[in-house]
């Protein structure tokens, strides 16, 4: 068998072609944002920005929720890109939990304030079937872009990588959604928007082992992004 290993080494060495090393996760995240953000902006303008957007932007809670959603998307993308680089600090994978917790906490605080202000009526959930498909539409290009970019890495933790990629795209998608969708009741946002982001991330995580797999890797040729 050692002779076989020598033969494998010879064949690999003979077939080696130049590759461009992948840029570090920060640069890859910036590249992903450069592709994704213009698309999200385009969708927001096609769908027409909400008429009260300027007033909402100066509303503290709305601003915190939007910054938290955007930061969740950004840090999830950074963690996803780090997770496909062997030897990279694994603790980065937990970083998106911080803005995610801030986002969840702000929505939870909003629910409590609504309950104090108007009682149980402030927590009523009505069907809002636009949220999930809208997040999917706004997050579609970011999702495809990050999936293609992540497939250039090493599939060390396929489910975690895919869940983080899904969280990045869905977080960015939800950020865009709230710029054109007039839905501000905290309970509704928590259930239909934050819930949709969590569901999409979980679905991506389940699909991860089919998308990121050692067997699907080529021999590492081609330009890297």
């Amino acid at each position: 068998m050692a002779r076989d290993t020598d033969a494998v080494i010879r064949r690999l060495a003979q077939s080696v072609e130049p590759v461009r090393p992948l840029p570090n996760p920060w640069i890859r995240t910036a590249a992903w944002l450069a592709v994704s953000v213009p698309y999200v902006v385009l969708v927001v303008f096609v769908m027409s920005p909400r008429p009260d957007l300027v007033a909402k932007a100066s509303n503290g809670r709305f601003a915190i929720e939007q910054v938290a959603a955007l930061t969740t998307g950004f840090t999830a993308a950074l963690a996803a890109f780090a997770s496909v680089v062997p030897g990279y600090d694994r603790r980065l994978v937990a970083v998106p939990l911080v803005p995610l917790a801030v986002w969840f906490g702000t929505l939870g605080q909003g629910c409590i304030q609504d309950w104090i202000r108007v009682g149980a009526n402030g927590l009523v959930l009505r069907p809002d079937w636009l949220c999930l498909p809208a997040i999917v539409v706004v997050g579609a290009v970011p999702a495809v872009a990050i999936a293609l970019m992540l497939r250039r890495g090493a599939p060390l933790t396929p489910r975690i990588t895919a869940a983080l990629g899904g969280l990045a795209a869905a977080g960015l998608g939800n950020f865009g959604l709230r710029l054109f969708h007039m839905q501000d009741a905290s309970a509704m946002v928590l259930a239909w928007q934050f819930g949709a982001v969590c569901v999409l991330s979980a679905v991506a995580g389940v699909a991860g082992r089919y998308v990121f797999d050692w067997r699907s890797l080529g021999n590492g040729r081609g330009a890297a992004i």
Binding site: V8, A13, V19, P21, P86, W214
Partner: protein, 189 residues
Amino acid sequence: MMNGDRSPNRRLANLMRAAQAGDTDSYARLFEELTPRLRRIIRRHRQSRGIDETEDLVQDVLLSVHAVRATYDPERPFMPWLLAIVRNRLVDSVRRYARHAAHEVTVEDLAVTFSDESANIHTEVHGDPDALLAAIQTLPSGQRNAIEMLKLREMSLKDAAAASGTSVGALKVATHRAMNALRKASNKF
């Protein structure tokens, strides 16, 4: 080349950097330096496994390193990058082993769920791994390599083609012929 690099980590990093640029000799030297280290690491972690399985794992790691060599950042240390791949492939091999072990238990249980006669026929046809391995050894080298890489080591067609230096199409033909030969041979077991 790179004789002045005394630190093994630095030397390996330089060899990999040259390999990323397409330097065949550096790539071969890198793998030659890595192979004994990989054998030591794998034997330490999988003491109960035989020499063949150790070599299979060494080759698996080398192929994985080859597939993801673009993820190595020449500015970062080489060994943590390599060890992360080794750990991942070791964990995968443990999972594969567990799956195969679970499969073997299922075969043993066949007599409980089917009549003895059916279970015995099933065992007679497929249940002699030694005879199967012997039959594989009698195959022409091209077909034997194809079976070993694609069926036993579960490599992808692309990886196997890269490792064997043949085309994907040729591998498919070799595998098809090998399977036919093994099917015929299995009737004689």
